[in-house]
């Protein structure tokens, strides 16, 4: 707990901190101790936000959840075994300033790519798990992201495991050009083969899930759920406004409108996610094979 208290917030989008000091004057309070909720504007203890699965203790806003913390929170204790943690982008196109951006993303997120993959038990059920991290270059999909996702579905097919995935992505990663776009086809192929083999895939779409990830593995699950208020779209509101030059209907691209339009099975707040995922994993558990 104390450790969490002094951890620096990783990203200003995820936790907006100010120097607001709701404390007796004369006592120095480091600003990162407090988080100002972007929705209700209340200044709340960062540790409370973290302990509350990165939701606002005051209004319930679902903030961005760092991938590793999310795994610790959703998986059974000490059950996560990370797969392919050492895969790193090689900057295949030698794109200007990309290497520096990768290094900055590593520092900001503490991870080496925009997705963590591995196996874990959830409610006692062995599961293949991927969790994307918006703090790593806005969760964009590079070749390594696609490679880890494809490997995970192939691994799950071989080991006869269900797949649970949390998406968070700004879309394709332009610094990897067409190699990034091809990951949409690659991951879709892996999902399709896994699905054709009878595998069960549950996707939990979190804020933001957009572009190339929406147009591939985010929208290819057997059960597709989302977090409240999450932006889930192909094109972001700003891009649409620029294209059609008119005001957008409120809520366009938010989880609630996708549910209404028929693109989600369910919106599941964080405090109910573990129960929901375990229930779905049990419902799709295959009978033990004979012999």
């Amino acid at each position: 707990m104390i450790k969490g208290l002094f951890k620096k917030p990783r990203n200003e989008l995820e936790l907006s901190t100010t120097g607001a000091k709701p404390a007796p004057s004369g006592v120095y309070i480091p600003p990162e101790l407090f988080t100002v909720c972007p929705r209700c504007k209340k200044s709340v203890f960062t540790s409370d936000v973290q302990e509350n699965a990165y939701t606002c203790p005051n209004c319930g806003l679902h903030m961005r959840f760092p991938a590793r913390q999310r795994i610790a929170w959703i998986a059974d204790p000490d059950s996560f075994v990370e797969l392919w943690p050492d895969l790193k982008s090689s900057d295949p196109l030698n794109f200007p300033e990309y290497k520096e951006k990768l290094e900055a993303a590593e520092r900001a997120s503490g991870e080496s790519e925009s997705v963590l993959t591995g196996t874990a038990r959830i409610g006692g059920i062995e599961t293949a798990l991927f969790v994307m991290d918006a703090a790593f270059m806005m969760g964009s999909m590079g070749t390594v992201t696609g490679e880890k996702i494809a490997r995970l579905f192939e691994h799950a097919a071989e080991e006869d495991l269900p797949v649970v995935g949390f998406t968070a992505s700004g879309g394709a990663r332009m610094q990897e050009g067409m190699l990034s776009l091809m990951q949409m086809a690659k991951t879709s192929g892996a999902v399709k083969r896994f699905s054709d083999a009878g595998g069960f895939y549950l996707a939990m779409l979190t804020d933001p899930t957009t572009g190339g990830v929406t147009a591939s593995f985010a929208m290819e699950a057997d059960v597709t759920a989302a977090e409240p208020g999450a932006l889930i779209c192909f094109a972001g509101p700003r891009v649409i406004e620029q294209t059609i030059r008119q005001k957008l209907p409120p809520g366009l691209g938010r989880a609630e409108s996708l549910l209404k339009n028929g693109f989600l099975d369910k919106i599941v707040p964080r405090d109910q996610q573990k129960k929901f995922i375990v229930r779905m994993l049990r419902a799709h558990k295959k009978p033990r094979r004979e012999g």
Partner: protein, 257 residues
């Protein structure tokens, strides 16, 4: 040639659109309409075409040639119903054992309110999955602009061919420059960095073949392309479906870090 010149050539208003290819490459074409779910998207043309003795399902993005037609076809930017029409026709092709040929020419899938409300992301995602396991030969030919996911939605194929001056990119050079450098004026530089030309993409194993552009109205190009398509169909139709699907998956699967 610099990438920016390829981009300009790919977008040129007098460049032949899908219609010219359909007329010149095939002996007959019957167009079909509608996705059976919502409507008919004029940005995507689909139907049955005959090439000598072989029938194929042809699906093309048509940008239009006159101002009025361009507007009617939404400049070749499809809505979800366009991708769903394409998928319906591809599944029909699979049922009757017809190969699929697609002609790709779009600045991108349409970004609009209706497109979002009707699930643009889901529509493209479904095509990517289904095309990967379509049990007939699939050939995608980039004839002009290959705009990101909107182009990929018709391009999960056994082979991807690119016209000499076509481009295929994850984002437009202007979009890339304005996001990365807050300066759309640096589009030429972005075009170079993105590696979006046919030469670049054959080198990166994204495309298999460059189709040379010859003749003022592309007459020589069309003649060459016709015989190349015939040879492709002849070869791929002999390959057992399982082998075809394995090779198609591996083609994309091997695009690794």
């Amino acid at each position: 040639m610099e990438a920016k010149h390829r981009v300009a050539a790919a977008r040129a208003k007098d460049r032949p659109t899908a219609r010219s290819y359909i007329r010149s490459l095939f002996d007959e074409f019957t167009e079909f309409h509608g996705d059976r779910l919502f409507g008919d998207d004029p940005a995507i043309v689909g139907g049955i075409a005959r090439l000598g003795q072989t029938y194929v399902t042809l699906i093309a993005q048509e940008k239009g040639t006159t101002t009025r037609e361009r507007a009617a076809r939404n400049f070749g930017s499809a809505h979800p119903e366009g991708y769903r029409k394409a998928l319906r026709l591809m599944k029909q092709a699979e049922k009757f054992g017809r190969p699929v040929v697609t002609l790709v020419d779009t600045s991108g899938a349409f970004c609009g309110i209706g497109a979002e409300e009707r699930g643009q992301g889901r529509a493209i995602a479904e095509n990517l999955m289904e095309m990967m396991t379509l049990r007939v030969p699939v050939l995608a030919i980039l004839i002009g602009e290959g705009g990101s996911g909107g182009a990929l939605g018709l391009s999960v194929a056994d082979e991807v061919w690119m016209l000499e001056n076509s481009v295929y990119s994850v984002i437009s050079p202007e979009g890339c420059a304005s996001i990365l450098w807050k300066d759309a004026g640096r589009a030429a530089e972005a075009a170079d960095c993105l590696k979006l030309t046919a030469q670049d993409l054959v080198q990166l194993s994204v495309a298999e073949r460059i189709v040379p552009e010859r003749g003022k109205g592309f007459e020589e190009t069309f003649a060459l392309l016709r015989s190349d398509i015939e040879a492709f169909l002849d070869e791929k139709q002999r390959v057992p479906a399982e082998e075809l699907l394995q090779a198609r998956y591996q083609k994309f699967r091997k695009i690794q870090p």
